[in-house]
Amino acid sequence: MNAERSIQSPKLYKTAAQSKQSFLKTAWKAIIRKKSRFAGFIIILFFTLMAIIGPNLYPKELPIDSNAIYAPISWKYLLGTDFEGTSNLALIITGARYVLLAAALGALFTVIFGTVLGLIAGYFVGWSDSIIMRVTDLFLTVPSFPLLVVLSTVWNFGQPLAMGFVLGITGWGGMARAVRSQTLSLRERGFVEAAKGLGLSPFYILFREILPNVSSYIGMNLLTSITGCIYAEVGLFFLGVVPFHVNNWGVMLNMAVFSAGAMSSPTALPYLLSPLLALLILTLGIVLFLDAIDEIFNPRLREDV
């Protein structure tokens, strides 16, 4: 065993670290190449900061003011107020944490489930592959948003972790398929054969040798599934199938449309428009940023030629 350890030369590690550094460098270059990408990066950074520090800027129970119900946009209320006179801006800022945390966790779970199952299925082949692929088929077939709606009858979505977990459970199928097919092609390569010949454990080979080779795909998927998770999660709150005991942009949308009649009464309009605006700006940021991600991972799209 000791002899085998020494075969992994320290030089190999160094090049790995170096390649990581140069990856970050090319990524940064791709981001600043276009103004639009940089703008997207800033927007995402801004929303992330909002989610992290936002709720600390306000008291736990947001102040209500019966004299300022549906107050128009003013210096005091930059985005107007809601049906109890609470500032919409405060609702947006404090609501960002649940929205973004649940989406990030959802994407993380999607990627973890998909990667681990895809790696195992693709590397071991045989019976574990057939079982995992049948289960994957099931999750790919059952339409995920209606499934989420049905699950909302038994699941408590009060915590971002619970929401993220269910988003991950319903969404990992496509990821597992893709990782499996990449693993299938990688397991025939020389370096995997060499690692096998050295008698390294299968899990070492899977997570230390094969995983790094699919990491770029995983990184890209992490970002795209965050958007999917935001929409699914905010959408569930908007539809009103989830109990409203948390502050969330979807709750605001639901109340504005179905209780406050914001579609027809101009007074409640700021209440409807503020979460819409937040979602649109965040969407714009992610779309602009994904353009850079596209270029980092898909050299064929580069148009320098």
């Binding site: 049905v150 905010v234 539809l239 199938v241 579609m263 969407t283 714009l284 353009d291 799209l301």
Partner: protein, 330 residues
């Protein structure tokens, strides 16, 4: 041909297994719910003055199994009923069978989404070809950006914006019903035109939010094909640009064709938001209303139909694709 039918039978068989798995899932979900809706229904009927036997029979008709019997026998009766296409009775629409309600809702979803799907597919694919071929020109960039942005905007945001703009800000279209209830239903001009004008916004919402996806997929598909040898060969042979574009489009559209047939299956469940915003009486709205009304037999029925649609379209896609793409045909 023999291979073909064996594969078809195998796919149908595994499709049926999948339907049974989903049905079992909803069965156990309803049994696991806090406050056990089946027992609650039973107790409520007793409170209304029914005898235990009457209440038991009533619950059996609604959910498809006898309460208070063993879980295994409840499950067996439920599945047996299902195989006879008996989905039980709705709780909120008293005395109406679930299959009747969901079959009435399905056409609304079908027409709404199918129109939107075809419109967005045609426009999106065309724009995708242009965006790929002219990708260095301002026109190509503009198209790509329009695709990414529209693809990024969530369906419910799109629906709310369209509804606000065209019903409140600039009220030219109706909102909040499938047709004008003051006009007598029937095949006459005022009713049909009312149906159409009420469908414009929901269809437009669907079309706009799926247009971007088609554009982006077609664009990347065309770019992949552009690198193929036969395109270079056709260029060297001096073929006309129009012919080359036809070659490219023909080869690039194959993967999209699969996606298109798959979307037909997903469309039964894909319009939950649109139906909710525009109060369209389709399957998605039915699913939501059944949850609101705690009408669990209706909920499982609607969810099951949505799933079956996806399974069928998966099978159809598989076989159509092997007919369309000569590389897969053996």
């Amino acid at each position: 041909m023999k291979d073909f039918s064996i594969r078809l039978i195998w796919r149908i068989f595994s499709g049926i297994i999948m339907v049974l798995v989903v049905a079992s899932l909803t069965f156990f979900l309803v049994r696991m719910m806090p406050g056990n809706p089946v027992d609650a229904q039973y107790n409520q009927l007793i409170m209304q003055g029914m005898t235990p036997v009457q209440a038991q029979n009533q619950v059996r008709v609604m959910y498809g199994f006898i309460p208070h019997s063993s879980l295994a026998s409840q499950y067996m009766t439920y599945i047996a009923n299902l195989l006879r296409l008996n989905l039980g009775q709705s709780v909120s629409y008293e005395g109406v069978s679930v299959s009747h309600i969901i079959l009435n809702a399905a056409p609304w979803t079908l027409i709404l989404v199918f129109t939107g799907l075809v419109a967005s597919f045609l426009i999106g694919v065309l724009a995708g070809v242009i965006a790929a071929i002219k990708r260095s020109s301002p026109m190509g960039t503009t198209l790509t950006i329009s695709g990414s942005l529209l693809h990024g905007v969530p369906q419910f945001v799109m629906g709310l914006l369209l509804a606000y703009v065209f019903t409140t800000l600039w009220p030219i279209l109706p909102f909040g019903a499938p047709y004008d209830s003051s006009i007598a239903a029937g095949f006459n001009l005022p009713f049909v035109s009312s149906l159409i004008s009420h469908a414009v916004l929901p269809v437009a919402t669907y079309a706009l939010s799926s247009y971007g996806g088609w554009l982006l997929t077609m664009k990347s598909s065309v770019i992949t094909v552009l690198g193929d040898d036969f395109i270079l060969a056709s260029e060297i042979r001096g073929l006309k640009a129009a012919t080359r574009v036809r070659y490219i489009a023909h080869n690039a559209i194959l993967p999209l064709f699969t996606l298109f047939t798959l979307s037909i299956g997903f469309m039964f469940g894909g319009s939950v938001f649109i139906e909710n915003i525009f109060d369209y009486p389709g399957l998605g709205n039915l699913l939501l209303k059944s949850i609101d009304a705690r009408d669990y037999p209706l909920m499982s029925g609607a969810f099951l139909l949505i799933t079956i649609a996806v399974i069928i379209s998966n099978i159809v896609t598989d076989f159509l694709y092997s007919m369309v793409d000569p590389r897969i045909r053996r």
